[in-house]
């Protein structure tokens, strides 16, 4: 995780990458594609995310989220393209595996094991295992170590799975729909534990969900995947700052739409509502238009309805 590596990776005129130079790249996918029996689950997915972020991977069902995360975790191999984690290619090597922790969708655990045995499993299979951290987390959560995993509640099982992932001490934690099938209290608890773990260990986290509202408070980077392609990748604050809802007279809408990219456009006889992407430093001084901010949910929804519109870092890596 040195600055050198970042510079090396993007040096040599690879493109004007605008990410801050002091933050190394945690996750980089280049033209990543995966085909299952003739159908492309993921097509030409290029993405670069700085370290230390909590990245929300959002998209409708079947958008390729799980496939993307499985590729990042090294569970499957890409049909084309490559994934790198902190500059190292993903794959079946012990060093590469040690850097990534993966929490699969159903949070699989060995049901017949006791919680203590699950910890022992983690200790035996991970040289960097932090047993004190694991025990402390479980003690705080009041999860008995001698209970069989299969006898725990869904929320507790999710906590055990998260504990094992965190105690592995990875640099990158990948979670596939960690909140699915959990009740609201468990969802809240899981997100809180996750945030505590992030604060303690400087993890980079990627988590997917098809429910945007689950992630709004926790995540500072948003990736939207739609139909196997990356539609949005950017810092949440920046995305919110550069998108505006403009409400004004319909007869002026065409003129406005010509001046900046319109993501969504709904017009009635008299009023038009345009969700636009404003460039930085281009304030709109027209009193006939009302300008308001957008929520992350509105933003994602607008993009998902317009698969051809993209919001990617300006400019992304040049493809060779």
């Amino acid at each position: 995780m040195t600055v050198d590596r970042t510079v090396g990776m993007f040096g040599g005129g690879a493109g004007e990458f605008t990410a801050p130079a002091q933050s190394p790249t945690a996750l980089e996918a280049v033209r990543l594609a995966k085909r299952y029996r003739g159908t492309w689950a993921l097509r030409d997915c290029t993405l670069s995310v700085p370290a230390g972020r909590v990245i929300a991977l959002v998209g409708p069902n079947g958008a390729g989220k799980s496939t993307f995360l499985h590729l990042v975790a090294g569970l499957i191999a890409p049909t084309r393209g490559s994934v790198r984690i902190f500059g190292e290619p993903v794959g079946q090597r012990a060093e590469a595996l040690a850097r990534v922790a993966f929490l699969a969708q159903d949070k699989p655990l060995y049901d017949g094991f006791t919680v203590a045995e699950m910890l022992r499993f983690g200790r035996h299979l991970n040289p960097g295992w932090d047993d004190a951290l694991a025990r402390q987390r479980l003690a705080e959560l009041d999860i008995p170590l001698n209970r069989k995993v299969g006898k725990l509640s869904g929320g507790q099982q999710a906590q055990v799975a998260l504990t094992i992932a965190v105690a592995k001490r990875p640099d990158l934690l990948v979670m596939d729909e960690p909140l699915a099938n959990l009740d609201p209290v468990a969802r809240h608890d899981i997100m809180r534990s996750l945030m505590a773990a992030v604060a303690e260990t400087q993890l980079t986290v990627v988590l997917s969900s098809h429910v945007v509202s689950d992630l709004t408070n926790a995540c500072d980077w948003l990736v939207v995947l739609n139909r196997g392609q990356v539609q949005i990748s950017g810092e949440v604050d920046e995305l919110l700052a550069t998108h505006r809802m403009l409400s004004g007279p319909t007869e002026l809408a065409d003129g406005m739409a010509a001046r900046m990219p319109v993501i969504s456009d709904s017009r009635s006889e008299r009023q038009a509502d345009l969700l636009v992407r404003t460039g930085p430093g281009t304030p709109l001084r027209d009193p006939r238009w009302k300008v308001s901010g957008v929520s992350l949910e509105e933003l994602v929804l607008a993009y998902l309805r317009r698969p051809d519109a993209t919001a990617l870092p300006r400019p992304t890596l040049t493809t060779t």
């Binding site: 299952y36 975790a73 090294g74 569970l75 499957i76 191999a77 079946q92 090597r93 012990a94 595996l97 040690a98 990534v100 922790a101 993966f102 699969a104 969708q105 159903d106 699989p108 655990l109 060995y110 049901d111 094991f113 045995e117 022992r120 499993f121 983690g122 035996h124 299979l125 991970n126 040289p127 960097g128 799975a161 094992i164 592995k168």
Partner: protein, 321 residues
């Protein structure tokens, strides 16, 4: 890794050990009882079956060995089938079924090492179990193998329970189960297929040892005792005439009914039959082919099983789904 393998499969290991122990006790009791009986009642080693004392003794020994032997005969089928279904099939299938492969394969141990530990560890345990079984059946047979009683080591009831065959059967069934588990990814289907293939292999090979080599052929032109030694593997016997044409005994009876009469039990009939140019042919495998046959069958089992296992391992290691 050793701990994980033990923790996940200790049930199978403990149950198999317990069943082997029970079998050991049964064999021990049978062997001790037989040894005692033999020590008290054995007639002279060279006794002839015709004398009542001798035939009663041989009959009792036969009764004793058959009682346990029939049970053992089924074990040659059941044990490998159970090993394949309960040791082999769940090994990968259960991981896929419950999604735990996603947990285990994303720890810091490579899939290759994980799989190697499981296959080598459990494969070694299964092989050891098979050898232990042979090591228990062997002395049990030895308790009977005291003259004048003679134990036929090719007997179907225990040919697959002595020497290296139990180990070969168990190991191939285990690899077969593992492979079907990797290919089907469903424990129940993998178990069913494993059981079916084990049964097919068992019944397919049941009488196959006779054909593992060209049998010895003895042609009799005079009246003599059975030319095949007691501990050999009998294949077949038939009659030929002077020009070498094969006859079944029925055809020969018809042909000889005129000159020699119909009472086949007398030596006179046999002499008459030989004097008319008939020769009796007996085919058998001598006892010293025992190990050759053991290794032949081990190869027949292990080569396809290991090839299939190799395919399954390659498919599992390739990051696919």
């Amino acid at each position: 890794m050793l701990w994980l393998t033990w923790r996940q499969h200790r049930m199978q290991v403990l149950l198999t050990t317990a069943l082997l122990a029970v079998l050991g006790v049964v064999l021990l009791i049978s062997a001790l009882g037989t040894a005692e009986f033999a020590a008290q009642n054995a007639p002279a080693p060279e006794c002839v079956a015709d004398t009542p004392a001798c035939s009663a003794y041989l009959g009792e020994m036969n009764e004793r060995i058959r009682t346990v032997g029939e049970l053992l005969g089924w074990l040659s089928l059941l044990a490998p089938a159970v090993i394949g279904a309960f040791w082999g099939a769940p090994l990968l299938a259960r991981e896929f079924e419950q999604g735990t492969h996603q947990l285990t394969w994303t720890q810091s141990v490579t899939r290759r090492r994980w799989l190697a530990a499981k296959i080598v560890g459990l494969g070694a345990a299964v092989t050891l179990g098979g050898l232990v079984l042979a090591g228990m059946v062997e002395p049990w047979l030895a308790a009977f193998d005291v003259p004048p009683y003679n134990v036929d080591r090719f007997d179907m009831s225990w040919f697959r329970l002595v020497g290296i065959l139990p180990a070969a059967w168990w190991l191939s069934a285990f690899v077969l189960g593992m492979a079907t588990g990797a290919l089907f990814r469903r424990t129940l289907s993998a178990m069913a297929v494993t059981l079916a293939v084990c049964a097919l292999a068992f019944f397919g090979l049941l009488r196959a040892p006779s054909s593992y080599a060209t049998p010895e052929r003895v042609v009799q032109a005079t009246v003599m005792d059975d030319p095949a030694p007691d501990d050999s593997l009998y294949v077949t016997s038939y009659w030929i005439d002077g020009s070498g044409v094969k006859y079944t005994s029925q055809e020969r009876e018809l042909a000889l009914a005129g000159p020699c009469g119909t009472d086949q039990t007398t030596k006179k009939y046999a002499k008459c039959s030989f004097s008319h140019g008939y020769r009796q042919v007996t085919e058998f495998h001598p006892a010293d082919r025992f190990w050759q046959f053991q290794w032949t069958e081990a190869g027949i089992l292990l080569i396809p099983a290991l090839a299939l296992g190799g395919v399954a391992v390659r498919r599992t290691l390739r990051p696919r789904i």
